[in-house]
């Protein structure tokens, strides 16, 4: 069974990575769209970012050096990513459910990273993983894991109750929305339950992680631990197939759309890309567009629209 558990976990982790990467590539390789920024844009110069201003506030802006304000961008990004600041500001009721859910996930990721790192260190340099530091290390990932799982379960239940109780949301809720939240709550309850109800002298999380990394098939993984771990990784593999992969989407919605205010001449390679798009041959059927599948976008833009046909005809 141990082999099957290891294989399942590696497979599910690989699916998560592959699908996430594929999704990111899909979005990144979409054509560079027309500008569609939305102010405030936090990487604007500090004297403008505060009121949501842009370089368009300066006369002859194209002759002036664009000021980068990465600190301003970080000042907005960090609280948004860590604390969902936008939701706090615009939908407080949802924040009280969504923040614990997301912050719980961050804590669980932290716990998983600490556990994985400890397992690697204990395999490669066991002398570094023991002693008081090792104890503290263990305490850190256990505390983060337990707190994270509790928050995720509480958040998932809170979100689920809101979806059921709020008539406005119910009409927009699909069966998968319920399934997703139940899946989260169940997976993290299984992980938390396995940890909380573990018998004495059973396989520890660290031993399991070491076994997984070293592919130690002699380790007798308790069934409950196996089920919980596989469920957790199955959840991870499932996420990038759903709208919940907004951890990928959000990079693009912010950096490629809302905050993408670079003038065309200041973005290397963009003019060439646009020149290529202008050779695309659209096939929009309305008469005034004049697209016949042969004319390019550039030709259509330079042409006059076909005029309205006689009364009763179609455009």
């Amino acid at each position: 069974m141990t082999v099957m558990v290891y294989v399942a976990i590696y497979l599910l982790a690989a699916i998560f990575v592959a699908r996430s990467v594929a999704r990111a590539i899909e979005y990144a390789s979409a054509p560079a769209h027309l500008r569609w920024e939305l102010y405030p844009v936090p990487h604007e110069a500090p004297e403008r970012a505060g009121h949501g201003g842009s370089y368009f506030e300066e006369t002859d802006w194209w002759q002036k050096p664009g000021k980068k304000n990465l600190a301003g961008e970080m000042k907005v990004m960090a609280p948004e990513m860590l604390f969902l600041k936008g939701l706090w500001e615009f939908n407080r009721a949802l924040w009280f459910r969504s923040f614990p859910f997301h912050f719980g996930l961050y804590l669980c990721l932290l716990a998983l990273s600490l556990l994985g790192l400890r397992a690697v260190v204990s395999l490669l340099a066991p002398q570094l993983a023991g002693g008081a530091a090792g104890g503290l290390w263990t305490l850190a990932y256990q505390a983060a894991g337990v707190a994270g799982a509790v928050l995720v379960i509480a958040g998932a239940i809170g979100l689920l109750v809101r979806r059921v109780a709020d008539g406005d949301l119910r009409g927009f809720t699909t069966p998968a929305d319920f399934f997703n939240l139940i899946f989260f709550a169940a997976a993290f309850a299984a992980l938390l339950g396995t940890y909380a109800l573990r018998p004495a002298r059973t396989v520890t999380g660290l031993e399991f992680a070491r076994g997984l990394l070293a592919f130690d098939t002699t380790l007798a993984v308790p069934p409950a631990m196996a089920v919980a771990a596989v469920l957790g990784f199955a959840l991870a593999a499932y996420i990038p197939f759903t709208h919940m992969s907004h951890f990928i989407a959000k990079y693009f919605t912010y950096h490629s759309i809302r905050w993408d205010d670079a003038p065309v001449e200041k973005r290397r390679g963009l003019e060439a890309k646009v020149a290529r798009y202008l050779t695309y041959r659209p096939s929009w059927a309305a008469r005034h567009v004049g697209a016949d599948g042969v004319k390019t976008w550039a030709e259509i833009a330079a042409s006059a629209p076909a005029d309205k046909p006689a009364k009763g005809g179609k455009r």
């Binding site: 979409a30 939305l38 102010y39 002859d60 009409g171 709208h243 005034h288 833009a301």
Partner: protein, 535 residues
């Protein structure tokens, strides 16, 4: 209020409206419009319109889509819609907005955070039909079902929707119940953009099915490309009109005004919304006074489409948008001007400065700039002798969405009014958090059937609330008040909105542009440039 509208109601076969808005449903207004019983009654849709057009959404009808006469005609329209849907998600047809559209389709969490940000939803009394996510959710379900070849599992994951002609007809109307102000997108925790969805739907209907409101297509972009302006003014007529304005303004200000035309090598090509020339001639006149006084070398262009900065394609059609943008750039290229300056027109600002940025490359990349920044520099430079006491009346400033939230020009106009209007007060909220005037995305020029009732009761209501609140301390008719709106479309909406509620006659609330306030404060100009009379 009628029963809350469900997503599935959009496919209802009957032609009955899904909702009927009553005045008692609407968001309350402050004094003096705080009694819902005294609110203006809605005109009912005429029987002729009901018989002829698809009016099955709410109590109005904006697009006048003819009712198909046969089942075959319905099926043909459905086929066209599906074909357009595929094109909307293809790079060849929609590279312009594909990435943001797909991200919005695939990642909305349906949390309704956007609803509270929407002035239309709030003003309607939280009518579910006007949630920003409502039309998006319909498109999303269609996307997964027909573009991504959804199966049962997809329906489980993304929800299902029945596609039929009534749904399409209602969706056409619903795409014209959004001002495209994108205030909703500003609040989305994911970065999804429901304003974009309304924009993309309009494109599908126009570019594939040939369906768009007459005011913005036939009488808008088509007329502009054909004769030069959506006002119908040909190059000769516009020159005659400007000549008349020059004479009038010279007499009124005591300063000889001459508007230059087609000056090669000028520093500035100024492009007005041509609606100003006909409806508010004091605006282009005031520009001429200020630019001449500041010693700027400037010109207007008499090229087709280049004396009218409007670009209605921005709201509904990429091909029309590109054509007009190119005409504007081409005129500037021919005249070899150093830059284009956009007059007081919000959508023209965004169209030419922001949206067209990536298509105007090479020789067409003539720098574009807002007149607000240029005016700010002139006012702050000390080149004009200004007497703020001439503007000693309450002034509030409207932020056109296209200039502010969508372009980031926030402070220049404020610096001006702070300097020359001693009784300036802000609306709340303002700047990038502003509310749309309710006329955005073409509504200001659309009044078919009883659409004006919807425009004033619903889409303009939040702005009306803001104006009334800004002037709560001086509502008495003895005090003239000025809503400064540096945007032609917004002014059109204010003209109609204030007249609808008789706020000029009863409370002396007037509207106007920014440059008029500057000229009104100029010491070299005869006093009283702003005329306190309704126009």
């Amino acid at each position: 209020m009628s029963k809350p509208v469900k997503l599935s109601d959009m496919s209802r076969e009957d032609r009955e409206p899904l909702t009927q808005i009553e005045n008692s449903d609407l968001m309350p207004l402050p004094a003096p419009l705080d009694d819902p019983a005294k609110d203006r009654a809605w005109a009912a849709l005429a029987q002729q319109a009901l018989d002829k057009f698809e009016c099955g959404l709410d109590n109005t009808c904006a697009v006048n889509v003819p009712r198909p006469k046969t089942k075959e005609e319905e099926n043909e329209l459905i086929t066209k819609f599906l074909s357009g849907l595929q094109k909307l998600f293809s790079a060849e047809n929609n590279w312009t907005f594909l990435q943001p559209l797909i991200l919005t389709m695939e990642h909305c969490a349906r949390c309704h955070t956007c609803s509270d940000a929407c002035h239309i939803f709030e003003a309607s009394g939280n009518n579910a039909l006007y949630r920003p996510a409502f039309r998006s959710e319909i498109l999303r379900r269609l996307y997964f079902k027909y573009v991504k070849d959804g199966n049962l599992l997809s329906a489980f994951q993304h929800g299902d929707i029945k596609l039929n002609w009534p749904l399409i007809a209602r969706l056409i109307e619903l795409s014209y119940r959004c001002n495209l102000c994108r205030r909703c997108a500003q609040t989305c925790p994911i970065g999804a953009d429901n304003g974009l969805v309304a924009h993309e739907l309009r494109k599908l209907f126009s570019m594939e099915m040939g369906i768009a409101p007459k005011e913005i297509h036939d009488n808008g972009s088509m007329l502009q490309l054909k004769v030069g302006s959506s006002t119908g003014m040909t190059p000769q007529v516009v020159r005659d009109n400007i000549e008349f304005i020059d004479e009038d303004i010279s007499e009124k200000t005591g300063i000889e005004v001459k508007t230059p035309w087609d000056v090669e090598g000028a520093d500035v090509l100024l492009i007005h919304n041509a609606g100003e020339i006909l409806a508010w001639p004091e605006n282009p006149g005031a520009f001429a006074v200020v630019l001449n006084a500041a010693g700027i070398t400037w010109t207007l262009s008499s090229e087709i489409a280049a004396y009218d900065s409007i670009n209605y394609g921005l709201w509904y059609d990429d091909a029309q948008f590109a054509r007009v943008a190119l005409k504007h750039a081409e005129a500037a290229r021919k005249l070899k001007v150093k830059k284009i300056v956009l007059g007081e027109c919000g959508h023209a600002h965004k169209a030419l400065s922001v949206i067209a940025d990536r298509i105007l490359t090479g020789e067409f990349n003539i720098p574009r700039e807002s007149s607000l920044t240029l005016l700010r520099d002139i006012v702050m430079s000390g080149k004009l002798k200004l007497d703020p006491s001439r503007n000693d009346f309450p002034v509030t400033l409207h932020d056109p969405c296209n200039v502010v939230r969508l372009m980031g020009v926030v402070e220049p106009q404020r610096e001006i009014v702070r300097k020359i209007c001693p009784r300036f007060r802000e609306m709340e909220p303002h700047g990038v958090d502003n509310y749309c005037c309710g006329g955005g995305s073409g509504f200001a020029i659309m009044s078919p059937n009883n659409f004006a009732d919807w425009r004033f009761h619903v889409s303009g209501r939040k702005k009306l609330e803001q104006i009334l609140k800004a002037f709560q301390d001086c509502l008495e008719p003895e005090t003239p008040k000025y809503v400064c709106a540096p945007c032609s479309n917004c002014k059109g909406q204010f003209r109609d909105l204030l007249a609808y509620y008789d706020l000029w006659n009863k409370h002396r609330i007037l509207y106007g542009g920014l440059v008029e306030l500057i000229v009104n404060a100029m010491e070299d100009v005869k006093p009283g440039f702003i005329e306190w009379e309704w126009h």
